[in-house]
């Protein structure tokens, strides 16, 4: 049977819708914020974007990122979760960086798979991990980058090294979290085994 409107088959539309819903949900309920210490938290809202991109392509990733951005903008205005949140009413902080999460994750995913195919190893788990890292880092770097671009000359101490250290301190753990979560979900969905191949139970 002829699938819907050529370019955008039903499955892509549905996955985009669902992943967007999850991203919005994680933000609205605060479940997407994993607290670390003293009010600092890492976020995993990039993960649905990454999973959407990895499973259905860069366009789906773009759409999910866009909707995530728009809703984080709305949320920043009506129900901010952290004191820094209200700044996200500015679309260059909330929407623009998020557009790139999906495509970045997808590019890394596809490249990693191609590379591993060349070496001859099954690269799916590694590709998923790398895609997760790439997507999350894109989010971190671009959001903080936007902060820098717009407000750099403004305050004397708001300099690139300062921003860079936040990227490392906050962004790397966030990337790691995104990587393991992406791997767990997509591997379970696609029925791929990876790593141990058996349970962690010890001998009796």
């Amino acid at each position: 049977m002829q699938n819907a409107s050529g370019r955008f088959p039903v499955r892509k539309i549905v996955v985009a819708g669902l992943m967007s819903a999850i991203a919005i949900f994680l933000g609205a309920t605060g479940l997407g914020f994993i607290s670390w210490f003293a009010g600092v938290s890492i976020t995993i809202m990039a993960v649905p974007v990454i999973i959407g991109a990895v499973m259905e392509g860069p366009v789906v990733g773009l759409v999910v990122g866009f909707l995530f951005g728009v809703f984080s903008l709305i949320q920043a205005a009506v129900a901010p979760k952290s004191p820094l949140d209200p700044l996200f009413v500015y679309p260059w902080l909330s929407i623009l960086p998020r557009l790139f999460i999906g495509p970045a994750a997808w590019i890394v995913y596809v490249s990693a798979k191609k590379l591993s195919a060349l070496i001859g190893k099954a690269g799916e788990p590694v590709a998923l991990v790398l895609a997760g890292i790439a997507g999350s880092l894109t989010n971190t770097v671009l959001v903080l980058g936007m902060l820098g671009v717009f407000y750099l000359g403004y305050l004397d101490w708001l300099t690139w090294p300062w921003i860079g250290s936040i990227v490392v301190a906050n962004g790397l753990p966030e990337a790691g979290a995104a990587a393991v979560l992406t791997l767990a979900v997509v591997a379970a969905w696609q029925g791929i085994e990876h790593g141990r191949r058996k349970s962690r139970l010890e001998e009796e």
Partner: protein
């Protein structure tokens, strides 16, 4: 008469209280469960069965009224709810949806591991729970969870809760959506748990399951307890049950239809064997069995 392990008095509960979507899910419910008994909660969809179960293992603290589980008052701030949840296990409907681990062994081990078990002890506990649920330990412990059949997943869900070694087992629709074979297997498992003295409360729509397993029944509708009693007592009241949209087990229905036609059979039979004997007795015209 054994001691009560769950005592519920005047329990009321409003879901999403304070919002336009607020809904009263429980109204002044009174209920007692005795040690070693099997209680069935029956009622139409939305009658509050699940909410009631969720009060019994401390997922909710009572908004009004009291819930005392294993001697401990759930409304009391000092009560360790986590410990209550370990002693009162709740198997949710469709427990296969909770599976998040890669391998069956790890999935079943999740509960006891969080409770502090490790090493060989943990493995022994997992083996025990899996066997009780009907899963061969060596065969399944390293099986990936995505490669399980529906029935196997259901057993994994059950094993995950049993692994906590609860004293009371709560089950929400334990056999819904199962193929006949797994359904029967699960019933046998539950019967054997009952034989080992496990107190059980099950919310279900399956009247045949109730007939087979339950000693007592409580009927809920609109969040209220409408009536209760032993299985025989409750199933004898076919019209009353019908008024709440509930059926009776096949065997009971058979007995009642036969009685309508003048046959000398008891009002309720709770098993196929019982029904068989009753029909045989009626056919051979032997002494009328005492109404049960």
């Amino acid at each position: 008469m054994s001691r009560p392990v769950i005592e519920i008095q005047d329990l009321s509960h409003v879901y999403m209280a304070g919002t336009p979507q607020a809904k009263t899910s429980l109204r002044e419910v009174n209920l007692t469960v005795e040690e070693g008994a099997v209680l069935a909660l029956i009622g139409p969809t939305g009658s509050g069965k699940s909410t009631l179960l969720q009060h019994m293992n401390g997922l909710y603290t009572p908004q009004s009224g009291s819930v005392i589980v294993l001697g401990r008052d759930l409304a009391d701030r000092v009560t360790d709810l986590r410990r209550i949840r370990r002693e009162v296990g709740l198997v949710f409907q469709n427990p296969e949806h909770q599976i998040f681990e890669r391998y069956v062994g790890d999935e079943v081990a999740f509960g006891p591991r969080t409770a502090g078990l490790s090493g060989g002890e943990l493995t022994r506990r997992v083996r025990w729970a899996m066997e009780l649920a009907g899963l061969d330990f060596s065969l399944f412990k390293d099986r990936p969870t995505f490669a399980l059949s529906g029935g196997e997943r259901r057993k994994v869900g059950l094993a995950g809760v049993i692994a906590l070694k609860p004293r009371i087992l709560l089950l929400d629709e334990p056999t819904s959506g199962l193929d006949p074979q797994t359904h029967e297997e699960l019933l046998c498992r539950m019967e054997s748990l009952r034989g080992q003295g496990m107190t059980m409360v099950m919310a279900t729509h399956d009247m045949d399951d109730v007939a087979r397993l339950a000693d007592r029944i409580v009927v809920l509708d609109g969040g209220r307890v409408v009536f209760g009693g032993t299985s025989r007592e409750v199933f004898a009241r076919r019209e009353a049950l019908g008024a709440h949209g509930l059926e009776v087990p096949v065997t009971v229905a058979l007995m009642q239809r036969l009685r309508e036609r003048g046959w000398d059979v008891p009002r309720a039979a709770l098993s196929v064997e019982e029904a068989e004997e009753a029909v045989a007795a009626a056919l051979t015209g032997s002494r009328r069995r005492p109404t049960g």
